[in-house]
């Protein structure tokens, strides 16, 4: 508050002054910047193009050297290769990254004849034998990586650097091990880098045009680079969302430029200013958004078939996929309708029953959620009372409504019985705890009765339409297919029919549990009718189907799902790292290891450290400059000083925009997230070098360019040598243990030297030991954390036997002896199911004891649900089926949303043990319970006690 407002030059003027965007100019009467020349990259002398060509050739050699090596799946090729095959087959998948780079990789593979038959399932899986055109697919990132080099060259030229500096900068990129490693594999980072760099080039060129003042404004070059900036931004954001940081960078500098324009009262009339503004809005906002959405348009065009990403999307979305679409169904639901009822909040499927009993609780017939269409999903909706015929006598039987003169529609508040057609039992609930969620506020739901049984009061469910979620006036009043969302309230106990992502044990084929939850408004208690059939509603009845969400609907839904999935990637990964460790290159990522070779992502320490140093030097310089300015020194009157401040400031700003936001991200991060920032840091380094050796007068270097050249050559030579030292890790080349140990400067560079052989000669003679007997733990192939479950509830709930219609899955329980009773040494290798009998202390009882007790006591059978994990949303964390199947680099594909918030095993600082599981269960309980409406304390202090 303390700052006095200086009339006419309030605070922001200071800012613009300090960043040396020249507002007060002596030479120019307009907004032209002082000390700026035309650095148009199209007008360079021929020798510059030759130099550029030379470095590009060098880059090509370095990038393409043995690109066929390794001939097996490396790291995230698992995902991106996999996406390529899904694109080719058109199977819908969910990924947290936008589609552009994946589409390009697919294109490369498709052109080379890839048929999508290879699944890229595991790191280390062989490419050669199935004949995957992996070299072609790797060529795309490689070409992007090669192009990065001339782009760096041109950007430095566009920023006004000398050719020598530009060559130095591009060679630093050539000899950057990390960029090289990424550019040789089927990964997204190389396309991301080239698009980021291209945006940097376009914006630098545009800035150069802009700073030359009104004479250049709205000229073809000016337009060209502005449009290219927009296109670059669109492309960058269409590869990874990190591109939004680039947008933020360009955006903030554009606002600064507009601010400068606004201050030019002499030449920039309001009309002209509006023109400037509109041009930028069009090029920097409209073009990128259009491009981004166009990419998703192609994405949707390619993916027309159902796939493993379905589970993430809404039913409306899924209905747009081939073969998931359904026939139009009659819209009105009446008494006597045969309906299938679908759960709204989870993708668990339809209310289902089958001719199997609960082994616990009431031992009545099971009710589950089943994800597939099946005639066991069909329910007949009966009125509470039987209809009367003309003479006033009730018509008996469940089909009584078919004979009525006209269908009686079901209204809000009607009480129903739900009659299961195949087993002739009715949906039923009572005060018995459900099999898995044995909470007080949950009741079991079962199917009860027999053919001809007229039901009892526990079969009554009242329909309560949720007006807010129902679509259309009619649907708010009476039950309509799809349009109406409703709750089913059990009349006797007041609980609501409920399901959540908790799976029943094997006796119900791991289908989803259905319970009756006491309490008011739970999102998990919302249902709707999907299939509907009534004999009296003929062909002409009003039909309904899922609304087609349209492109924008699908686009927006996918964005939301991507965002949530992305934010949910919080599990720790064996090779993840936090932002503070990046600029100092603390650790890398283990990509691949096989046959005594290794690929490990590590940067060239010379490049990393010197670029970080350049940023640090500039930060110190800026701090001193601002302090001196406040103390009245006139440094900023010197154009060289001002240009240094502004030009390097621009690149350091880009570095900051691509680096600091990661601090705010809770999701898992990797070293390669630093690459865009690194690129700009290298740019800053080169510019600093250029200023020191060629522009700043008085230190003698400008006058003797030989020193500058010499310095650059020495620096490049050093970089190249260091590059060579670490190159075996990038190429997957043979290396020796001793060389490896020498190169391993820090313990935190955690590649494993023991992988390598002792001598290069051994590599030529080694026999490839493909099938080792036992997996040694050193194998870095598969990162440590628990494998990621396949996406979505549906994928996890595939029916075990597909064509098994009558009864959906439930193996008969096999009772076997408890393990204690086994003689020592005997081992049982497989076992489907067992019942353990325990006494009240939890001790196992052996069969004799059990027999003796039989009849005297009642047994409570517990299934092994105690170690069940429930996350904050109350979703069960699925057990890792097929440990190590999918490499859990979660950057990509769908972590099942149900794994969100899984207690992290790696937390270093946990000072206190917590009963996580119980705490989570109680959490779930409290969420659900609280809907009773009673007030509830915030979980401020108490919850932390966990007991």
């Amino acid at each position: 508050m303390a700052k006095p407002a200086k009339s006419g030059s309030p605070a922001p003027a200071k800012v613009s002054q300090s960043t040396a965007s020249p507002t007060i100019i002596r030479k120019h009467e307009d907004y032209t910047s002082e000390g700026v020349e035309d650095y148009d990259v199209f007008l360079l002398p021929g020798s510059d193009y030759q130099a550029m060509l030379a470095v590009t050739v060098l880059a090509t050699i370095v990038r393409l050297f043995r690109i066929y090596q390794p001939s097996s799946v490396v790291f995230d090729e698992v995902h991106f290769g996999g996406f390529a095959s899904k694109y080719i087959k058109g199977k819908f998948f969910m990924d947290v990254h936008p589609p552009l780079a994946k589409l390009l990789i697919t294109l490369a593979g498709w052109l080379a004849g890839f048929d999508g038959e290879f699944d890229f399932k595991d790191i280390g899986k062989d490419y050669l034998e199935p004949g995957v055109p992996y070299v072609a697919m790797r060529m795309l990132p490689a070409i992007c990586g090669i192009l990065l080099v001339p782009t760096m060259f041109l950007t430095l030229k566009a920023a006004g650097c000398r050719t020598m500096t530009a060559v130095m900068g591009s060679c630093l990129i050539v000899f950057e091990n990390g960029l090289l490693t990424q550019a040789r594999l089927i990964l997204l980072d190389s396309p991301l880098m080239i698009m980021t760099a291209f945006t940097g080039l376009a914006f630098t060129s545009f800035t150069n045009q802009h700073e030359q003042g009104p004479s250049k404004a709205f000229q073809p070059t000016w337009w060209f680079w502005l449009a290219m900036t927009g296109l670059g931004l669109g492309a960058t954001a269409s590869i990874k969302w990190v591109g939004f940081f680039t947008i933020a960078w360009v955006g903030s500098l554009t606002i600064l430029q507009l601010w400068v324009l606004l201050g030019d009262v002499k030449t920039v009339t309001p009309r002209l200013f509006a023109k400037h503004l509109v041009a930028r809005i069009f090029c920097l906002i409209v073009i990128p958004i259009t491009f981004y959405m166009a990419m998703f348009g192609i994405h949707f065009i390619c993916l027309v078939n159902p796939g493993d990403g379905d589970g993430f999307m809404s039913s409306e979305f899924q209905a747009t996929l081939n073969s998931k679409a359904m026939q139009d169904v009659p819209v009105d639901v009446a008494f006597g309708s045969r309906v299938s009822i679908r759960h709204h909040n989870t993708q668990g499927g339809y209310l289902h029953s089958h001719n199997l009993m609960y082994p616990t609780g009431s031992k009545q017939q099971q009710i589950t959620l089943y994800p597939h269409k099946d005639e066991n999903n069909l329910w007949l909706l009966e009125n509470m009372t039987q209809p009367l015929d003309i003479s006033g006598e009730p018509i008996n039987g469940s089909l009584a409504w078919d004979a009525l003169p006209s269908p009686e529609f079901i209204k809000d508040g009607d009480t129903l019985k739900l009659y299961h057609l195949t087993t002739h039992r009715r949906l039923h609930s009572h005060d018995v705890r459900p099999p898995v969620t044995e909470a007080d506020w949950q009741n079991e739901v079962s199917a009860y009765g027999y053919e001809g049984f007229e039901g009892d009061a526990n079969d009554f469910f009242r329909v309560e339409i949720i007006k807010k979620m129902s679509d259309g006036e009619e649907a708010k009043k009476r039950l309509r297919t799809i349009e109406t969302k409703f709750r089913l309230i059990h009349v006797m106990t007041g609980c609501v029919l409920f399901s959540h992502k908790v799976k029943l044990p094997e006796w119900a084929s791991e289908q989803q549990e259905v319970t009756c939850a006491k309490g008011g408004t739970l999102p998990n208690s919302v249902w709707y009718v999907e299939q509907n059939e009534h004999p009296q509603l003929g062909e002409t009845a009003e039909k309904v189907n899922y609304k087609n969400p349209g492109f924008f609907g699908k686009f927006w839904e996918l964005q939301k799902v991507m965002w949530h999935t992305n934010a949910g990637l919080v599990e720790s990964h064996a090779w993840d790292s936090r932002p503070p460790s990046w600029p100092i290159l603390r650790r890398g990522i283990n990509f691949w290891g096989k046959d005594n070779r290794q690929i490990y992502l590590i940067g060239n320490p010379i490049v990393w450290w010197s670029s970080t140093l350049a940023v640090a030097v500039f930060a110190v310089f800026k701090g001193i400059a601002v302090l001196r300015w406040q103390r009245g020194f006139r440094d900023y009157n010197n154009p060289i000083f001002k240009r240094f401040d502004y030009e390097i400031g621009t690149m350091v700003l880009a570095w900051a925009f691509h680096y600091f936001p990661f601090y705010l991200m809770q999701r898992q991060l990797f070293l390669h997230h630093y690459f865009p920032a690194l690129y700009f840091a290298v740019m800053a380094l080169c510019q600093v070098y250029d200023y020191v050796t060629a522009r700043v007068p008085g230190i003698g270097l400008r006058e003797n360019p030989i020193f500058g050249r010499l310095g650059a050559i020495v620096f490049l030579a050093l970089t190249a040598v260091v590059f060579t030292i670490y190159s075996p890790l990038a190429y997957g080349n043979p290396w020796t243990q001793s060389a490896c140990k020498q190169a391993k400067l820090f313990e935190t560079w955690d590649w494993d030297c023991n992988t390598f052989l002792h001598d290069y000669s051994q590599y030529s003679t080694q026999s490839i030991n493909a099938n080792a007997d036992v997996h040694k733990t050193d194998s870095p192939l598969i990162p440590t954390n628990a494998p990621v479950a396949p996406a979505g509830g549906q994928a996890a709930q595939q029916p075990l036997i597909q064509d098994h219609h009558g009864i959906s899955e439930a193996p008969p329980p096999v009772v076997s002896e408890p393990p204690v009773a086994l003689p020592v040494g005997q081992s049982i290798l497989s076992r489907e199911e067992k019942v353990e009998y325990r006494d009240q202390d939890g001790n196992l009882l052996d069969p004799e004891q059990v027999k003796a007790l039989e009849g005297k006591v009642s047994f409570k059978t517990r299934y092994e649900t105690r170690t069940r994990l429930v996350d904050a949303q109350g979703n069960e964390i699925p057990q890792p089926d097929g440990a190590g199947v999918a490499p859990p680099h979660p950057d990509v594909d769908g972590v099942d949303s149900s794994t969100l918030g899984k207690p992290e095993p790696e937390s270093q600082d946990a000072p206190v043990a917590q009963k996580e599981v119980r705490a989570d269960e109680s959490k779930e309980e409290s969420i659900a319970k609280s809907d009773k409406g009673a007030a509830k304390p915030a979980s401020e202090g108490n919850e932390a006690t966990g007991v």
Binding site: M1, A2, K3, A786, L844, A913
Partner: protein
């Protein structure tokens, strides 16, 4: 403005020295050195100007504040919302039993003090919302009086902030009324909650800083130091109540930074400061606003530790060393030193699973095709079982005297008693973690021969000294496999059916993880009457304060971050300024009474919309300035940017950071920001209704001619000639509406009377989820 007006102004200028507070111009204070000198010279002169109108207003407002806060404070006579927590903590303080909470102790200590004053013994533990205070004989009115007192005092402090900043009476009254007639402030400060203390201390820190800033022309004077230190003390109270108090530090810190930046300016109107002088300014503020508050903060923890000397529900959160400082702690009391050849049960600290084995073997091939050793399974099992019993054997079994204690860093072997096998780990991947080693057992013969090395484990006690004896319960250790240096570890993902969904146990290469810690839970081999179980009188140990404080601090931050669970009435920050939903605190079905925590919607919407207006004014001013159009007079602009800007900064720093927080958030987190927005509202009332430029250009020129310099006048005196009628009229209208809204929602704030269904529905404005609507 007529020429007459400026004449009067000059007259006023001559009496400026007589005003009570020479710098009563608020933030937009004069900067002329000569004027400063004048002011300094007149500092001692006592002023007769006592501003009676303000004094009367503040008295009335204070009275109203007490009435609104204390009215019906005994209702409801049941536990409401988070009284569950803070009432309980007060009881723990009074019982002196150790507890753990994520909030710093100051606010809770105040409650305990109150309880101690009225002689309450802390027998009631506030278990559930709705528990009766009457039946349990809790002096809850005394407890509630404490926050109510704070809440009531907040209102005059708000008035005083505006007064000190030199706003006109209507502006001061409006700001105070926005807080006075606000249902959220009333509701939150009538209950046993920390927010009253927090908001009061936050308001005090703003007031103290303004007072301090007004003394900037007399640096390092006695009063200057007084207000500096008081600012520091208030800040310390804010942060010692809740950690969101750090936002107040940000507010004051930013203002101080801007102030220091100006002091550094060579073109400063009062003349450039030399760097040593600047250093002195800097150091004084650092000491007064950072170092001293930090010591206060530590002091409350010292009080906390001093009071809580007995073992209690918070023990489990602390390390064994810490627990030893608490008297009658169960864990240390029951600890038994472990001897070799004892059979023990080893429990995992984090998941509470026991180290377990049974005769089944690992399957040869896992689902993913990897191959196991097919050894006997070693798993984690959460229930007591004979299969959890392991006999601890020394390295050389032969020449051992029975009864030797197991010590830190010794190499041991573990024999599974039921199957008579020895625990072993080897370089085979575990079922789930290809990077972790499998744990299995081998027969005794093998263990003595070729597998000998693989059966060796080192006991590494956490924070243990060499030679320290391993004790059950209190001795937390890592079991390190000696040849391969991996730590025994387990996690909660259950194994498949072949291991009965028990926990996987494997060898973790990352030794540092705290999840590697195990402890001996029980020693079943000791007979019940063994002398080893006899307990000796135990001395309560002591730990250095800083060590205890560090440990507690770490635990608090860790658990604070873990508070991410959902709550039915939690809200998102964007909802707060618009008051989209409240929090249900308490309901009573019989009488249809309920307390629903909610602000006064009209007041909140007014305050929030004026924040947007403020931002708009600033943007418009900047843009027009950039185009060379100067629309504001200097005084209005200075006031708008400095004084109102400070309030706006306070709002922003107390509000925006919540967007970065992942934890559970509630409406009451907005209360400090709401207070700041009320200040902005008052300031803008004055700005909008006194837009008439005080000095037009002609007058300024005339003045310059006359005196050679501009005269600076206290803000209030400058507008002496202006009619405040517009302001008063606006105030009247706004007040009427605010009071109307306040009164309308009052039954939800005080919890009575109970409302009928139509009455409830009438109050469901933005879908407020009220009860008894049906």
């Amino acid at each position: 403005m007529s020429q007459q007006g400026s004449v009067r102004k000059r007259k006023d200028a001559s009496v400026v020295g007589k005003s009570k507070e020479p710098a009563a111009t608020g933030i937009a204070a004069p900067r002329d050195p000569d004027l400063d000198a004048l002011i300094k010279a007149n500092l001692e002169v006592k002023s007769p100007d006592v501003e009676w109108d303000y004094r009367i207003a503040i008295t009335v407002i204070t009275l109203l504040a007490f009435v609104t806060r204390f009215w019906g404070i005994s209702h409801p006579n049941e536990v409401v919302f988070d009284e569950v927590h803070f009432g309980k903590f007060a009881s723990y303080y009074l019982e002196r039993t150790y507890f753990f909470d994520v909030h710093p102790p100051f606010g809770k200590l105040l409650f305990a003090l109150m309880g101690w004053f009225v002689g309450y013994d802390g027998h009631f533990h506030f278990e559930n919302i709705g528990d009766s205070y009457i039946d349990n004989k809790v002096p809850y009115v005394a407890f509630r009086a404490m926050p109510a007192l704070m809440g009531a005092l907040t209102v005059p402090v708000v008035f005083d902030i505006m007064w000190e900043s030199g706003y006109t009476l209507p502006a001061c009254i409006l700001s105070a009324f926005l807080v006075l007639f606000d249902n959220a402030h009333i509701g939150q400060t009538r209950l046993i909650l920390l927010d009253a203390t927090l908001v009061f201390a936050m308001a005090c820190s703003l007031l103290c800083y303004i007072k301090f800033y007004k003394l900037r022309h007399d640096p390092f004077g006695r009063k200057w130091w007084k207000w500096l230190l008081l600012t520091g003390f208030s800040l310390s109270c804010v942060i010692s109540t809740k950690y969101v108090g750090v936002f107040s530090f940000v507010t004051i810190g930013s203002a101080v930074a801007i102030d220091l930046w100006d002091l550094l300016n060579v073109k400063r109107r009062q003349g450039a400061l030399s760097l040593p002088e600047f250093g002195k300014h800097f150091a004084a503020r650092a000491v007064g606003l950072i170092i001293i508050p930090f010591f206060f903060y530590l002091f409350w923890f010292q009080v906390h530790f001093a009071i809580l000397s007995r073992s209690g529900p918070g023990d489990d959160f602390m390390s064994p060393e810490f627990q030893e400082t608490l008297s009658d702690n169960v864990m240390t009391a029951n600890a038994v030193t472990i001897n070799y050849f004892d059979s023990i049960q080893i429990k995992h600290k984090e998941t509470h699973g026991y180290l377990h084995s049974h005769p089944d073997r690992y399957p040869l091939r896992y689902d993913d095709g990897r191959v196991s050793s097919q050894g006997q399974q070693v798993t984690g099992y959460p229930y007591a079982d004979a299969n959890n019993h392991w006999q601890i054997l020394p390295l050389q079994a032969g020449d051992e005297v029975p009864g030797r204690h197991v010590k830190n860093n010794e190499i041991v072997r573990l024999r599974h008693i039921v199957t008579n096998t020895i625990l072993l780990s080897h370089d085979v991947a575990s079922p789930y973690y290809p990077t972790n080693q499998e744990f299995t057992t081998v027969s005794v013969e093998d263990a003595l021969t070729d597998r000998f090395n693989d059966t060796l484990f080192e006991i590494r006690i956490e924070n243990g000294k060499p030679g320290q004896e391993l004790k059950s319960l209190s001795g937390q250790f890592k079991l390190i496999h000696n040849p391969s240096k991996v730590a025994m570890w387990t996690h909660t993902t259950p194994l498949p059916d072949w291991a009965y969904k028990q926990q996987e146990i494997n060898g973790n290469k990352n030794l540092g993880q705290s999840s590697n810690i195990w402890f001996v839970d029980e020693i079943p081999s000791i007979p019940k009457d063994s002398p080893r179980l006899e307990k000796q009188e135990r001395k309560v140990k002591s730990l250095p304060f800083l060590q205890k404080w560090f440990e507690l601090q770490r635990a608090m931050f860790y658990h604070n971050n873990a508070l991410t669970s959902s709550h039915p009435y939690a809200s998102e920050p964007f909802m707060w300024p618009f008051l989209l939903r409240g929090v249900s605190f308490w309901t009573q079905n019989d009488t249809k009474q309920q307390i629903y925590f909610l602000g006064n919607p009209i007041g909140w919407w007014l305050a929030s919309s004026l924040l947007a207006v403020y931002a708009g004014i600033l943007a418009a001013d900047q843009l027009s300035l950039r185009r060379g159009v100067d629309a504001l007079d200097e005084r209005s602009r200075a006031r708008l940017y400095n004084s109102t800007g400070f309030f706006f900064l306070a709002w922003a720093t107390h509000y925006l950071p919540f967007y970065l927080m992942g934890r559970q958030l509630f409406l009451h987190h907005y209360l400090p920001a709401h207070l700041a927005s009320a200040l902005v509202t008052g300031a803008l009332l004055e700005f909008i209704f006194n837009v008439e430029p005080i000095l037009d250009e002609a007058t300024i020129k005339a003045q310059k001619k006359l005196t050679g310099t501009k005269k600076h006048l206290p803000a209030r005196q400058k507008i002496v000639g202006q009619s405040l009628l517009a302001s008063w009229a606006a105030l009247g209208v706004i007040t009427a509406i605010i009071i109307g809204g306040w009164y309308f929602f009052l039954p939800l704030t005080y919890g009575y009377p109970g409302l009928t269904v139509p009455q409830v529905n009438a109050r469901k404005w933005l879908g407020y989820d009220l009860h008894f609507a049906k």
